[in-house]
């Protein structure tokens, strides 16, 4: 055995083959080192790998409805190689990694065949060796060659075809099989079609006169058969012509033909120029070499003495560039076939230079040939040095986060959950029997565009999705404004795990934007009470003492504002135990007089003594106490609550409302502060929702509510929105928004945010005309702000400088929007409120700010209609 092996090596390795073997090992190393870590697993890679699985394992053209995006031979090729490698999870790798090995194999064979083509045409070993380097030494080339893309598979078949066409002595069998392989190239990726004219031109010129007609016919008829086979497939499936309820080949062709921005290729922002920018970012020199050399190729075509085989390659380059500048869509990976063409054409040009010198210069001057060619080759190779100085292609791990995300999903998410995923995770999450198999995980793309998938799996409702594993592909589509369903899912989600490790940039979840794909973020769709349960439990643990006192995190005091909101939340959350605890503590500690039914504003430790710090009975918070306690009665039917609730609202009427111009209006508190006959109202004392609620117990609250709305109307008529204050001069009846009737201000500093809650709740639960009017007007205002600034700036000073609002304000505004504009509500919830917590479940739950937490809970309860 060993002797045989030694004999084989002796036979194979000689001075002729050694340079090839060394070069092959070198390019093989460059192509494969870092194969699994760079670049990031792209959605399309998953598409073709999954489709290969589907075709070979299930006998179906695609894992979803096949829609003729491409002919299936590319993924058939891929699937066969993967099978030979041992399956989709061979060697303990994930499916994309195995598929990348398959593509690497094709690419290495293509590399050898490219060298052979150059050898066939030039008879020049150095040119042939050089072609292998050109086909490898570029970050741009490596970036795309490693990917599981149909273009790489198409290139493999086309290279075989071209190899046959450029045989030293061309025979009809070469032509025939070249047609077969070209057809397979077309059935792998349709852009092969654009390279047909050069082949026909070449055959016309290269074949003997007697062979010409039969040769061209053979090649073309076999190639045409591949197209017809594709069409026949559509006919068999009755999917050739467009119809309303089915995919069709013609519809897809029309769809593809209309893609792209249709800006002429040389203009800025054309698809082509955009891609030139993208390509040059990865390899500036290589990109411009590709396109500028095409002009040279065009000129060389006019030299009659140049062999037709050279011209075939030059024509390929010209025609492929024509394809790229045709005006339709250009994707970044469309450049892949250019790599193979340029890898042949550039060595051919060098060979022509060499032959030119050989032919026209006397022997002594041939040194110039070597100097020139060495210089040119040297420039090309030297320009590659950067690739090794900053070897991202070998060392940058763009897939670690993606793999961690998959591990996280397997670890944390039950297999029966419905997850929107990138297609690069499809096989690994759904068909890897070593782990949970997520039968209800679906590719976000099909979920969006295939109404059948959306309807069947999610009943076309985002609420039926549990999780979304967001990737660059998804963000790009949402960013393009095309994926409404997916956007709804994310709009109504929060982050539960964020896998990104990007030192130079951060994924912008608020606007769904990222510039690279080396991350995955898991969103939990906000479609159940689980988050609410977690926040409420956490809030109780962090912010409420065992006695039932809500502690402000910054002062350690207790404020009736937060205490009353907590009681209201407890009743809405149906937590009677906590309700009682909070109420008992309030009853025992916030009443400074034995007879009063109302609660004081704040309580805390002052100079070592726990006591009431502010004795005022705030109208606003006592209304909330009354509301919470009466709601408690309705919910739990305990007459004690009814008794206390009625007492509170009775006392409020008598002490906190004052008749002004024959109308009872709510003062800030029980203290009458109108020495100059100027009344200052805080608008948030107008808890019209509570008043609507009280009407069922005492009808006069309806009138009080209407009085409040009139007050609000008087105030917001002065400016665009409800201000914090409304000030009335009894003397002249003038309403202003500055306290003490000192003119109007646009200033709004978060203190009055609750007025929006009250209007929102009144609108949502009682749908009053007055609340609706205010809600609609305010929505217009918010919309303007969002359009103007990209986000809502509720807290503004008088000169409208942007001040970032506090969470309670955002919570209130979001509640108001829920009552008036569901679309704006969703995005506002996401981009303004959730962004305060970095969209992250953990940040929400672990928030230390008492007010932030309780008002988020309040909004969340409203979101869940609780």
């Amino acid at each position: 055995m060993n002797i045989k092996l030694i004999q084989f090596f002796k036979k194979t390795i000689n001075l002729n083959t050694l340079p090839y073997i060394i070069t092959f090992i070198f390019v093989g190393f460059i192509k494969s080192k870092g194969l699994f870590i760079y670049p990031y697993f792209e959605n399309d890679e998953g598409v073709y790998t999954s489709q290969a699985w589907s075709l070979l394992e299930k006998g179906e053209l695609s894992h979803y409805t096949y829609w003729y995006d491409h002919a299936p031979f590319g993924w058939l090729t891929l699937g066969i190689i993967i099978k030979l490698l041992g399956g989709y999870f061979a060697f303990g790798l994930n499916s994309i990694e195995v598929a990348r090995i398959a593509v690497l194999i094709l690419n290495l064979i293509s590399t050898c065949l490219i060298a052979r083509i150059v050898w066939n045409i030039t008879n020049n070993k150095w040119a042939s060796l050089f072609s292998m380097l050109v086909f490898t030494l570029s970050p741009l080339v490596i970036y795309h060659q490693r990917r599981v893309l149909l273009d790489n598979i198409m290139v493999f078949w086309l290279i075989i075809s071209i190899n046959l066409l450029t045989e030293k002595k061309i025979k009809l069998s070469h032509v025939l099989f070249s047609g077969v392989f070209f057809g397979l190239g077309f059935l792998s990726k349709e852009s092969a079609l654009f390279l047909v004219p050069p082949v026909l031109f070449y055959l016309w010129n290269v074949l003997e006169v007697e062979q010409r007609v039969i040769g061209i016919y053979l090649w073309f008829s076999i190639f045409l058969s591949s197209i017809l086979l594709y069409i026949l497939m559509a006919i068999y499936k009755t999917e050739l012509f467009p119809s309303n309820d089915k995919v069709s080949l013609i519809s897809t062709i029309l769809f593809h033909s209309k893609r792209g921005n249709n800006i002429t290729f040389y203009l800025p922002n054309s698809d082509f120029m955009n891609m030139i920018n993208e390509w040059s970012k990865k390899d500036n020199i290589y990109t411009y070499m590709m396109f500028y050399s095409t002009i040279l190729m065009g000129l060389l075509l006019f030299f009659r003495k140049i062999n037709i085989k050279y011209k075939l390659i030059f024509l390929f380059q010209i025609f492929y560039v024509l394809f790229l500048i045709r005006g339709g869509i250009v994707f970044e990976f469309y450049i892949i076939p250019m790599f193979s063409i340029i890898s042949i054409s550039i060595p051919l040009v060098l060979d022509l230079i060499s032959k030119f010198f050989d032919h026209y210069l006397i022997h002594n001057l041939k040194i110039f040939k070597y100097i020139l060619i060495t210089t040119l080759v040297g420039v090309v190779i030297f320009s590659r040095v950067d690739m090794f100085k900053h070897p991202v292609i070998f060392t940058k791990d763009e897939n670690l986060n993606i793999k961690l995300a998959i591990d996280w999903i397997r670890d944390k998410i039950p297999a029966d959950k419905k997850i929107l995923i990138d297609n690069s995770n499809w096989l690994d999450l759904k068909k890897n029997s070593n782990f949970n198999e997520y039968d209800y995980a679906h590719w976000y793309w099909k979920t969006e565009l295939d109404s059948f998938v959306r309807k069947k799996n999610y009943n076309s409702d985002w609420r039926n999705v549990d999780y979304a594993a967001a990737t660059l592909g998804l963000y790009e589509q949402i960013g393009a404004g095309a994926f409404e369903f997916n956007k709804s899912v994310l709009d109504n989600s929060y982050i539960v795990a964020d896998f990104q490790n990007t030192p130079n940039y951060k994924v912008q979840h608020n606007i769904y934007r990222a510039i690279n794909g080396d991350w995955t973020t898991i969103f939990k769709v906000d479609n159940d009470k689980s988050l609410l349960d977690k926040i409420w439990t956490s809030f109780k643990e962090k912010n409420i003492t065992l006695e039932g006192r809500v502690v402000e995190n910054n002062t350690n005091f207790t404020e009736s504002a937060t205490q009353s909101e907590a009681i209201l939340s407890a009743v809405r959350y149906n937590d009677k135990q906590m309700f009682d605890k909070l109420l008992n503590w309030s009853n025992q500690n916030l009443k400074n007089e034995s007879k009063t039914e109302l609660f004081s504003t704040s309580w805390g430790n002052y100079q070592g003594v726990n006591k009431i710090l502010n004795y005022e009975y705030s109208t606003e918070y006592n209304l909330k106490y009354g509301l919470a306690i009466l709601m408690g009665f309705e919910k739990w039917k305990d007459p004690i609550y009814l008794d206390q609730g009625i007492k509170i609202i009775n006392q409020l009427k008598s002490t906190n409302f004052k008749s002004i111009n024959n109308k009872l209006l709510p003062l800030y508190s029980n203290t009458d502060s109108n020495p100059d006959a100027i009344y200052n109202f805080t608008t948030s004392s107008c808890n019209t929702y509570a008043m609507s609620y009280f009407t069922k117990f005492q009808s006069e609250w309806n009138q009080l509510k209407l009085n409040c709305y009139e007050l609000l109307k008087n105030s917001y008529n002065q400016i665009d929105y409800i201000p914090e204050y409304a000030s009335l001069s009894l003397k002249d009846g003038i309403w202003t928004t500055n306290p003490n009737n000192k003119g109007n201000t646009k200033s709004f500093n978060d203190n009055g945010f609750n007025i929006y809650n009250y209007i929102a709740f009144d609108q949502i639960y009682y749908n009053t005309k007055e609340s609706r009017e205010i809600a609609n007007k305010y929505t217009i205002y918010i919309n303007d702000k969002v359009n103007k600034y990209g986000f809502y700036n509720s807290s503004i000073n008088n000169s409208e400088e942007i001040i970032y609002p506090l969470t309670p304000t955002l919570s209130a505004v979001s509640n108001l929007l829920k009552s008036s504009n569901s679309g704006l509500y969703t995005s506002f919830w996401k981009n303004n409120l959730l962004s305060k917590f970095n969209y992250d479940e953990k940040d929400i739950i672990e928030s230390k700010n008492t007010k932030d937490s309780i008002y988020f809970i309040s909004s969340y309860l409203l979101k869940k209609d609780l």
């Binding site: 009809l172 062979q211 039969i214 016919y217 076999i222 068999y236």
Partner: protein, 414 residues
């Protein structure tokens, strides 16, 4: 059912693909084109030839055939014409002897073969013993011989040192019958291309005429098989057993012109005979003794050729039936369609072949001929299927008599 369908389609795909390769082999490379062309430089006439011209009831054509042999540009003392007749065919005898006398054809003689069996191979065997030429050439009674034929043959025998030379035969009446276009194209591709392929493989069925064989070789293999209905093809197999050097020459200048039978009945008879003859060779089994597997496969391929033609008809009928009545899965349906593509490619080749044929022979390429080819393709396959079926039936019935084909001299109209 699906398994058999797959086997059937695989067979048909292999056959069709192989058929395309053989059909185009004549244009395969510059070397092939040059190799089988008539030689540019004619060498001095060193070889001597004996034409064996078996004829029976060929009074309509015999005169022209003798005259065409007489017109050959080669020293008359270097070739002889042996017209082989049966005693009861007085009319042909009269015309032949009259032609010899009237045109003073000194190198022609008539040989009457009365012994049994009365068949072409027996006549040839009898004539062989009286032939004086170094090289024997068999000619059919209706053949129109190129005047340059012997110069080309002489040059080729010297240049290539071959022992057997098959020259081209071409049916010429390309537009006389509905089936004649496809029939002449079959000949065109066979002699222009397929035969070249088989000669390269060193196993080929020889044609019935325009075949040159060294007399020593013929004697060596024992002449023609008198039992066989296609003695020429049988001879080809037996020569392959001896590994003799066979060369092929096809050129419109040197081609022997023939005609396709005048009517469908005769045509079917002719095809039946050929098929029956091929089956006889198959059963006889000489091919099994060929020295390589490759040769055996090739021999088997052309001996089974009539069966492959049945496959095409069966394919058309079966695929139509399946398309209309059976719901197959997508992949099987597409797989079933592949032979159709290959057949369509062959159909295109036939049209191109006709264009080349008319160009080579200075004939008119009528605009409707491609349409005619397309329309008659399937009926033509049906005729071939009928002939094959008939041959099988005749074999089973033990009917081995020679069904004579009438010749009307239509190939000489121009």
């Amino acid at each position: 059912m699906e398994f058999f369908l797959i086997i059937f389609v695989v067979l048909l795909v292999v056959q069709s693909f192989f058929s395309i390769i053989t059909m185009t082999y004549g244009w395969h490379s510059k070397e092939i084109i040059d190799e089988f062309k008539a030689p540019n430089k004619i060498l001095p006439p060193l070889k001597t030839f004996s034409f064996l011209l078996p004829a029976r009831n060929e009074e309509a054509v015999i005169k022209d055939t003798i005259l065409s042999l007489h017109r050959i540009e080669y020293p008359k003392n270097k070739y002889e014409i042996i017209i082989i007749l049966v005693p009861e065919d007085q009319k042909t005898y009269d015309i032949a002897s009259e032609t010899i006398k009237n045109y003073n054809i000194t190198n022609a003689k008539i040989l009457i073969v009365g012994s049994l069996p009365k068949c072409k191979p027996h006549s040839l065997n009898v004539a062989l013993s009286s032939a004086s030429g170094e090289i024997i050439c068999i000619i059919d009674a209706e053949d129109e011989i190129s005047t340059k034929l012997l110069n080309y043959a002489n040059t080729t025998f010297i240049n290539k040192e071959c022992e057997v030379l098959q020259c081209g035969v071409q049916l010429m009446n390309y537009n006389s019958q509905w089936f004649s276009t496809l029939s002449i194209l079959e000949y065109f591709y066979w002699f222009k291309s397929s035969l070249l392929y088989f000669s390269k493989e060193k196993i080929m069925p020889l044609g019935g005429n325009s075949i040159f064989i060294k007399k020593t070789i013929l004697n060596d293999v024992g002449g023609w098989d008198e039992e066989c209905l296609t003695e020429d093809a049988d001879l080809g197999v037996r020569l392959a057993l001896k590994d003799v050097n066979i060369s092929v020459l096809y050129d419109s200048q040197s081609c022997t012109k023939e005609e396709t039978p005048e009517n469908l009945k005769d045509y079917i008879k002719q095809r039946t005979r050929w098929t029956q003859g091929f089956f006889q060779i198959l059963v006889k089994g000489d091919w099994k003794n060929l020295n390589t597997i490759r040769k055996k496969i090739h021999a088997l391929y052309f001996l089974l050729w009539p069966i492959f033609q049945i496959l095409i008809t069966v394919y058309f009928l079966l695929s139509t039936f399946v398309f209309l009545f059976i719901k197959l899965n997508l992949y099987l349906s597409l797989f079933l369609a592949i032979p159709l593509f290959l057949i369509l490619i062959q159909l295109g080749l036939l049209i191109i072949g006709l264009w080349i044929f008319t160009k080579n022979y200075n004939l008119k390429f009528y605009w409707y001929l491609p349409l005619k080819i397309i329309l008659t393709y399937f009926p033509y396959q049906m005729i071939l299927t009928l002939a094959t079926t008939r041959a099988i039936w005749r074999n089973l019935m033990g009917l081995k008599n020679w069904e004579k084909t009438f010749h009307a001299n239509k190939h000489r109209i121009n």
